[in-house]
């Protein structure tokens, strides 16, 4: 039995099931917990693709930081009216189903007819090296330096903006 295929099936199954559970649970906290599980199994899938750095960053940033803030907000909100957040509007429900089918069709087309994995990484040896932190760091600070700096600047601006807004509210 190939260990990699076994691990892949476990992670893929867990991520698919937890994704479905995230959108079907009625309690927001439970949904958030399944979303965390989903992020985790995705990190496992990244590890199988030799993208160590992305896998760990996925856990640190998404599961470790963003979801903590999500949970924080959900827990502080009043949980009595949780079931009322679902809309009774039929039109919106049909629209949601339509969008879901549309996105699924797009992804299915890309995977089955465009063969994305083969197009991007023709050489296996090169693709294995791409995920290590040394390579990502070198790429970020040489070829992608300007986009990287701009992204950092945007984040700084957003942080200062958040502080200004919060300060106004308290004064």
């Amino acid at each position: 039995m190939n260990l990699e295929i076994l691990l892949f099936s476990v992670f893929a199954l867990v991520s698919a099931v937890s994704a479905v559970m995230t959108i079907t649970r009625k309690t927001p906290v439970i949904s958030a917990i399944f979303l965390i599980l989903n992020f985790f199994s995705l990190a496992g899938l990244y590890l199988l693709l030799n993208a160590q750095f992305i896998a760990v960053v996925q856990v640190i940033v998404y599961a470790g930081a963003i979801m903590v803030l999500f949970l924080f907000v959900i827990m502080l909100l009043n949980s009595a009216a949780e079931s009322k957040i679902f809309s009774d509007n039929r039109v919106i429900q049909y629209f949601a189903v339509f969008i879901a089918v549309f996105v699924f069709a797009q992804l299915a087309y890309l995977i089955f007819f465009q063969h994305p994995g083969e197009v991007i990484n023709p050489q296996l040896a090169e693709s294995i090296k791409a995920g290590t932190i040394e390579n990502i760091g070198r790429q970020l600070y040489t070829e992608y330096l300007i986009p990287f700096e701009i992204a950092g600047f945007l984040l700084l601006a957003a942080t200062i903006g958040a502080m200004v807004i919060a300060k106004k509210k308290f004064e």
Binding site: L3, V29, I30, I33, I36, Q52, F53, V56, V57, V59, I60, A63, G64, A65, V68, L69, L71, F72, M75, L76, T132, I133
Partner: protein, 343 residues
Amino acid sequence: MDIWSIVIETSIKIFVVVNVLLLTVSYSVYFERKISAWAQNRIGPNRVGWLGLLQPFADVFKLLLKEDIVPDKSNKAIHALAPFLALFVAFSTYAVIPIGPEMTLFGYTFSLVVADVGIGILYVLAMTSLGVYAITFAGWSSGSKYSLLGGIRSAAQMISYEVSMGFSIAGVIMFSESLNMNVIVQSQAGWMWNAILQPIGFITFVVAAFAETNRMPFDLPEAEPELVGGYHTEYSSMKFAGFFLAEYANMAIASALIVTLYLGGWQNPLVDIFGITGITATLMQIGAFLVKVLALLFFFIWVRWSLPRFRYDQLMDLGWKVMFPLSLINIVWVAALIMIFNL
């Protein structure tokens, strides 16, 4: 090496590490009680076994036999999950901490670390950031306001101190030029300990470690006078013991991390001075690691019984207005050292 020998080797390492850690944890509970008794002019546990040395086992049996009370309004599944998550996070962090250099036994060479991965230190950060969930889940699922307050306090505290922790670690990485824990230890050879080279980073990291482990003076998530017991108010029996064990396991791991990142890990100055080689050197290096970890564990306990608890606003002020800028200054300091001395 084929896949099965790796699996067997790793399983043996996990077995050893988990058991040694469990023993350390149960005896650090004993020493906490003994040292607190000594600090408060009492005797401490002395009934079970010689000097009370069997007390940890008596405690575990007592807790196992107690009734497990689950509150009526709790979310049962999450309530049961939380203590095990706390233990899982605490123990799995230990996978990347090296307790010694490579060792050759009966002609078979192996490294004294469960997983010698290239992203070791990021793995530690990822695992500690998950530790928040155990406490938050416990607080939320109990359906009690004291638990919820404790859980929310803990989440806010751990997020705040993770920032200065991450920035202090950046200083360490700049010296070692690697995220691998073994390389970080090797970069501190010959008294080039990070604690000596970057004292500011060392202090911010130690303070952050205290905050991350919810230890005095940062134990607001379980502040007894205000929150009864904080996030574990509604836990009893072995589930309570799970949180209790996780707290001490986190303490042991924080000590091991401080040793690895700042105090030279398994580097033993005596080995270099006397030029010892072979198996004796390896054993001395493992011994040095254990001595350093135990000294830090004593430091953790000592601080708990010497300092009063912070107020919540003082905790946040310290985290964001003192520790965070200090850890940034540390990065500039390290960069200047590297520039001037070409380290």
